[in-house]
Point group: C2
């Protein structure tokens, strides 16, 4: 799994231009980083003098950010796996008419799945932007810059994920999904 | 070293709100990711039909992005180490006047170093933005979205690094650095 790789290895694999990790995986990583930074701000607020009134709010916020971090971290691999499935579908045999038809269907199914993974990443990233905003407004002022970085990473995650939804949608034919306007 | 950690571990450590990795380290990670994505675009251009005219430019660009990726990856730990040094200086004894004076000097030296690390990250991130722009304009159109994500991550890296320069400068006393306007 990509998330079990060292940071240096993930970066080198991305740089190499190999099939995975691609833009969708990097989108998810941006989102996971954003969620982690939001959690950081909440955790640096809980138990601090002067922040007693927001203690419970910050604990809840840390919990939600933690769930989103886990979900977005999982998507780092889900996106790469979905792309690997698309490539596998393209490699299916197309000697007979039946094979050609089955291959076409498998490719379309794989591309739809590859579009839905980053769509979920985009939704989760938007949720992180909301949490980061709350953390900046109510959390430890000394950690506000970390909250700002969280918001920027979440924005990048959302935009990068939407790019990847669009790229996949452009390959879908004769389906309701091919007419979606984003 | 932080960069030898698994991605999951780095994210969990950031989220926990422990001293390191903090915002400066995350800034450097953003920069390394941006450099890696820029390299990706260049590598996905070299050898591709229709891009023969920019082949040499893209090879050179990949080389420069690779150097910046290595430098920014190293800064992920350099920033954390610099912060650890600041904390160590604060723990020095201050029983005698001599100890107090030495401690004060060590703290100031450590904070100056902790400001210079993200300043270099910011400079490198700006260089990555320039390379990402070239990769988007001249590189493989199919990878343009990866170039755009690179530019966003580089922007986040530069801004996050500057936040950390400012935070450290605010703790520097009676020194030319304390009057720097950023």
């Amino acid at each position: 799994m990509l998330v079990n790789r060292k940071i240096t290895e993930y970066l080198a694999k991305a740089a190499a231009g190999t099939a995975v990790p691609g833009g969708g995986s990097v989108a998810a990583l941006n989102g996971a980083l954003a969620a982690g930074l939001t959690e950081m701000v909440a955790n640096l607020t809980v138990g601090k003098k002067g922040y007693e009134a927001v203690e419970e709010d910050m604990k809840a916020l840390a919990g939600m950010a933690s769930q989103l971090r886990n979900k977005l971290t999982a998507a780092i691999d889900q996106d790469a796996d979905a792309y690997t499935e698309v490539m596998a579908a393209y490699k299916l045999p197309k000697t007979t008419d039946e094979e050609t038809s089955l291959r076409k269907q498998k490719i379309q199914d794989a591309i739809k799945h590859a579009a839905l993974v980053p769509l979920e990443v985009a939704r989760d990233a938007l949720a992180v932007i909301d949490l980061a905003g709350r953390a900046i407004r109510k959390g430890n002022k000394n950690a506000a810059s970390d909250g700002a970085v969280a918001a920027m990473n979440a924005r990048t995650a959302a935009l990068a994920a939407i790019y990847n939804v669009k790229i996949n949608l452009s390959s879908i034919k004769n389906d309701a999904l091919s007419h979606v306007e984003i």
